[in-house]
Subunit: 428 residues, 2 copies
């Protein structure tokens, strides 16, 4: 059985497992596997086409369950060599799916509410998943330097993964980032370059570098390795279903930055159905944005197919992409599955971070505040059915976005070290 | 078969699994399970005595392996109810055992070097393990408030665990902690009380509170629940051996704060041997301290049995206990197993944090810098055998101690966004 494949007439010596070719998401044109990201014919984005394993679903399930406690248990469904788990990498994934009964009570959800908590990854964000796949592509293409443009999570994920894989790393960031983020990006010992300019300037510089002889041998995880990198997000779908007992959730709430993660989660779910690993039943995917950067939510609400770029202004910096490349695909998926795209403002984001921390002991980064806040809003609006099984993603760690909650989070009281002073504080 | 047990003449209605009684580590006197921590007869510290499961080791191994991916897989060996995994808690543990081949090459270790990376726990330190056990004790004793004195990791662990367990929390800290730590301690919505005074003042206040009617119904995880709490560290020993394929490592390097963790790791290893879960062969336990707070290392080197208290002055704040309660027991274990206790200075701690990050992509907190630094020092001194299997503990997360590396960690270059500027920087 082959699922979502192209014919394997595109021969390749690369050992990237079931990855068969690159395929244009717009015109369907096929290309051999390589470090390219745009269709020569129509400039559309390229993605991986697979020859996925056929045979008895029960056997595949068992093979997966016997695999490592990381994304590599799904190696048969990813563009990675079969022996990937034996190579030095960070082994991300298989993070907790938290049954969130306390939060469910607060939100009135009766059908089962879960938080997929990706703060448990090695560098504490979902980026470890995508970078791990990019590292394998870099190895396959003989790249010796791993690179990216980043404003935070990605820089640390690339630095750490390259260090362990024995690759050089060179990461580009705007020069005026907060010191904490700079430290996290630099501590792994690769080169970290501050660019005098905005994040857009950093991106433009990276594109220039890829085209220059200097950039030979460089794998930019989110540029020339993007088709591979992006596939890492499929593992969120695989894990959620396996952790639910090989069952599709009824509803998923997923954050939108570029939109890539949401589209790959949908791809992953469809693969599981096609392979017979889960029962084929409807699911709804909801997208979550911050009000200060909500071009996809805007388009969804206005019934448009086109996403109009915006200038971001939100505390949810890891989602602050004003011109999301996969926005139109996100709209398609939300509409096809009967989901929606919604946004929340900065105050609602902070409230949602605290709500999740207070109810489940999970300290999410701002992106997690966005998904939890949007979940609450969708329930109140009747768009999300509280009687159905719902999974909400937290893609990062509150420790990385302390500034969001710091102004409104502090001691209940400051007292002198004696019982009278404690009694006076009214907390006894 | 019964291991390390006392006779179960101490009847109890408490459902705390194989926990049979409290037993004085000094005089051996036994007491019923309860929220007490010191021997009535000799004031010695109390610890849990067990009726551990007998029977076929292979069956117990299989039962453990079929359990959850958390410390609850070892519930048959812990003072917790059999159905603990079904209760709301943070499910800590089963963190990565990282095969550290890059670091091994740098240190000249040929026998296999591993880092047990507890930064993957829910609140990113090993404290989640001990607090999870304390929560079960609190439930068993009918406590409604979970409390502790803390300067960092423990406050967050207690706040998060209480939130999820549906207990009130009230955590006491010195009032002048860094804002980041305060935010982490307060975000879970429990009461956080700043005390005008030092950590010692905070501790004294907590002892006063336990004796006062106000403190009724309060479980202080590191005071009146300490015998239960401390047992959580045994799970580090269990996991390391299981992850090595049910095999004892030859050498372990463990940080020393109060010394409790090291003694419980030894206890856990001896239990595994007694139960037949691992082969009975020698292992050596090495203790690691910071030079600015090294009373146990001092006593070890001087050949003393008594640990003379010191005033801590080190960047490794999570290890800065100047009068470590379990110091004498640590000395016993290091001497009995053929290990040692060594210390490193602040500069060596920072170097070791960076070394681990650069080689393995693991960003450790200062305590991890202490163990890696001590490992290097012990190898150079010939005290640790590089041809043997060695496991080094990282008990926390670099994100929580950014200040340690910030002054010496930053960009390789700041450039303008063009290729000429990049070439000039000499990184091409």
């Amino acid at each position: 059985m082959a699922v979502q494949t192209v014919a394997t007439d595109t021969d390749t010596d690369l050992s990237l497992g079931p990855a068969a070719a690159l395929s244009c998401r717009e015109c369907g044109e096929r290309f051999p596997l390589g470090p390219v990201f745009a269709c020569e014919a129509c400039f559309g984005p390229l993605e991986i086409a697979y020859d996925l394993p056929g045979g008895d679903p029960e056997e595949l399930r068992k093979r997966i369950e016997a695999g490592p406690d990381s994304i590599w248990r799904y190696a048969p469904l990813l563009p990675v060599p079969a022996d990937v788990a034996d190579k030095p990498n960070l082994n991300p994934g298989f993070t907790r799916l938290v049954r969130a009964d306390n939060l469910a009570r607060e939100l009135g959800v009766t059908g089962g509410l879960y938080v997929k908590d990706d703060s448990g990854n090695p560098t504490h964000s979902f980026k470890d998943r995508v970078v791990a796949i990019a590292v394998e592509a870099a190895r396959a293409f003989g790249f010796t330097t791993l690179s990216c443009s980043s404003t935070g999570n990605l820089a640390g994920a690339v630095g750490a993964a390259a260090a362990r894989a024995g690759l050089r790393s060179c990461v580009f960031i705007p020069h005026d980032l907060e010191q904490g983020k700079v430290v996290m990006a630099a501590v792994y010992g690769g080169d970290l370059v501050g660019i005098e300019g905005t994040y857009d300037d950093v991106n433009r510089f990276c594109s220039e570098l890829i085209g220059d002889p200097i950039g030979e041998g460089w794998g930019f995880v989110n540029v020339n390795l993007r088709p591979y990198y992006a596939e890492g997000s499929k593992t969120l779908a695989y894990e959620i279903c396996e952790q639910l007992g090989w069952r599709l959730p009824d509803q998923l709430v997923v954050p939108i930055a570029s939109g890539s993660q949401l589209t790959k989660i949908d791809k992953g779910l469809r693969e599981l159905i096609a392979l017979g690993l889960v029962e084929d039943r409807p699911y709804k995917i909801f997208g979550a944005q911050a009000e200060g950067c909500s071009p996809v939510a805007r388009a969804f609400k206005d019934g448009h197919d086109v996403v109009r770029p915006v200038k971001p202004d939100t505390i949810a910096k890891s989602l602050a992409i004003g011109n999301p490349a996969d926005g139109p695909y996100v709209l398609d998926i939300a509409r096809r599955t009967g989901g929606a795209v919604e946004d929340v403002n900065d105050g609602e984001i902070v409230d949602a971070i605290k709500l999740l921390a207070r109810t489940e002991g999970v300290f999410a980064e701002t992106a997690g505040g966005v998904t939890v806040g949007v979940t609450r809003k969708l329930i109140e609006a009747g768009a999300l059915d509280p009687t159905l099984t719902t999974v909400v993603l937290n893609t990062g760690d509150g420790l990385k976005t302390l500034d969001a909650v710091a102004p409104t989070t502090g001691p209940s009281a400051i007292i002198r070290p004696n019982l009278d002073s404690f009694r006076e504080a009214g907390l006894a």
